[in-house]
Symmetry: C2
Subunit: 387 residues, 2 copies
């Protein structure tokens, strides 16, 4: 049987074909007018993607490098930081902070839930010396999301407290209005909604965050944002850029512009997520984050008596579709289906169709086609008379 390899993981995601073609182009040199013009075009496109006129800098690193850059450029050792921990990636903020000697306080949500803005406001009221709040837009380990808009309403009127958002897997899949909402720093990765391979991180820095960078004494070299700001204003990066990725980034930004902008990309993920939740409901597969789900991915518990690992393995072995298992505390307990990036209705109907067959093979009792039918119904409900 032919089995086409398909990734339905919350990173890496499917590459856009124009990205693939761009990655295959001959290499160009980065200290040239041609490359400088390209990087400036990418910077302009990234600002549209981030919905801000703040600087958006490009780093040759994974998303975690962008998270570290946020911590080491904004804080000084001993500074108080508040981490909102709703899963595996929230814990990463704690670990980075502790690695650099920050005074880390955490607000922890049950996995599958989010930290409420009211809790954050109370914590900041108790300790006004907290220099920054760090959170995820989408917590990829559970599919939960933080109410970043409400969090920004809390921080933007507190002169001492910045808001730093890991939107690595959330940007491009859920609404994110960096400027309008007043978010100070946003981190994004290339292998998510932008449909690029891993290798680039992007970070936006607000005016008041730049003031903090001037005061920060945390040690840094590669992730020195002031150097990058100066270099990238001239179309160069401080160190050797991931050239082919940046050529491909332009192709990705052009694709998104052609689609009608990032709002359309967000709408697409929302449609696929809504179809997937409808299918999950019809198939009686519980959401991991029923009260705080986002649209970047859908995390699901398996039916009682069936191992989530058997579902992940069945989809891979039988149909070469890769969905993600659980991480950390949820390892072996859930499975996760991504919607961020370059996926369409035909993809998700095909995946739900094969998921049903895998569940049936594992002995789960339900009517074949009932998940697909619910997804089709949601599609009709959301798109009306025409697609």
């Amino acid at each position: 049987m032919i089995k086409k390899a398909r990734l339905f993981t919350p990173g890496p995601t499917a590459l856009h074909p124009d990205v693939q073609l761009a990655l295959g182009r001959p290499i160009v040199h980065h200290r040239t007018d041609e490359f400088r013009a390209l990087l400036k075009e990418c910077s302009a496109g990234l600002k549209e993607f981030f919905r801000t006129q703040d600087d958006v800098l490009v780093l040759a690193s994974s998303g975690t490098g962008g998270m570290e850059a946020a911590v080491v450029n904004l804080l000084s050792p001993g500074d108080k930081m508040l981490a909102l921990v709703a899963g595996n990636f929230g814990e990463r903020w704690e670990k980075i902070g502790k690695s650099y000697g920050m005074n880390v306080t955490s607000l922890t949500a049950q996995w599958g839930e989010a930290v409420s803005p009211a809790e954050v406001a109370a914590a900041l009221d108790r300790d006004p010396e907290i220099k920054a709040v760090f959170c995820q837009l989408s917590e990829s380990s559970t599919g939960a999301c933080h109410d970043v808009k409400a969090l920004a309403e809390i921080t933007r009127n507190r002169p001492k407290t910045l808001l730093v958002v890991d939107a690595i897997s959330g940007a491009g899949a859920m609404q994110l209005e960096t400027a309008e909402w007043g978010i100070d720093v946003v981190v994004v990765g290339s292998q998510k909604a932008l449909a690029l391979p891993p290798g680039l991180a992007f970070i936006s820095v607000s005016q008041r965050a730049w003031e903090r960078v001037d005061a920060s004494t945390a040690p840094r070299f590669y992730f020195d944002l002031k150097r990058e700001r100066k270099s990238q204003a001239g179309g160069e990066t401080g160190f050797t850029p991931a050239i082919s990725h940046i050529v491909a980034l332009k192709a990705s930004l052009d694709f998104i512009a052609g689609l009608g902008g990032v709002a359309k990309l967000v709408e697409n993920a929302g449609l696929l997520a809504g179809m997937t939740r409808a299918a999950a409901h019809a198939l009686r597969l519980p959401l991991v984050a029923p009260k705080a789900y986002g649209d970047a991915l859908t995390a699901l518990y398996p039916p009682q008596g069936i191992e989530s690992g058997a579902i992940v393995k069945g989809l891979k072995a039988d149909y070469m579709s890769t969905v993600a298992g659980g991480q950390g505390a949820l390892k072996g307990k859930i499975f996760r289906i991504a919607h961020l990036g370059y996926y369409d209705v035909t993809d998700i109907l095909g995946l739900i169709g094969t998921l049903e067959v895998v569940l049936k093979r594992l002995g789960y009792s339900f009517e074949l086609g009932q998940g697909v039918a619910a997804a089709q119904g949601e599609l009709l409900r959301r798109t009306g008379a025409r697609g």
Copy 2:
């Protein structure tokens, strides 16, 4: 909404990714040892694909060029030829024959049916001077197929009568045993089960067919098979070959070998065709060829009161999936879904899922998911406990 372009047409079909990469390689020269070795490897792989040790020659042309090559190399003007006409492509044999002054007799089936071997035997008994029978393995205009095995049983014991099979869209989707069944000439095109772009035709020639080539006086230059046989035995083509296509052909043949050979490719098309017929039955969409269907494609009538063109347009406009409309006498009356080539279960479940949504939007009354459920049931029935 993101809409990925997908072809579900009986040619061109989806390119295999290794074919795409091969097409993108730097060009090589064709009068070199490197290319000669490549063409010889391709010839060996094509013999496995055709299931014969007969010569299989590569032509830079569409499939129709291969059909013309068969006529002009086997017959002389005024020779009697019998065309089995079950649709648009059967009519092409008549047109080519008449263009070269052959004495063309036809056996015509209702569109959607095939010419029966008994009719052919009777026609040959009536006129033993018929030099060759020309037919389609898969008649792409209706989805019907001829019983080529039974036809070969009739012709192989008649010294005067050759059997020429247009397997352009049938080979690799349905069983075809060129040597074992005793077929004299088989024509295949690149843009079908081989998952290449259009641009190459392949033609196998049996020993007794070569004897006929020596005697043929029909005019020919580009399609002179004797010249090609001599050139290609040495790894060269008579005229400039479509070099990149041949580089890609090797990638395609390697893919098929890795799958386990042409029988596995045939099994895959059979699975997808079976799933599609099950869905069609559940959705009450009549087969165009209910008594003679093949597995290369499924041709369907729309429900009463719905235009087939509206289905084709809806799938394209709403989901960017291209299925074929009707041709010739069936233009505007049917739609056709291909299974030949690089397609998998996830593809066909996604297509059936979107087809249902299109039908629902067009006002057709049925339960969403019922076609998908029937296809899933057929998948489980055919693949058993594991996929």
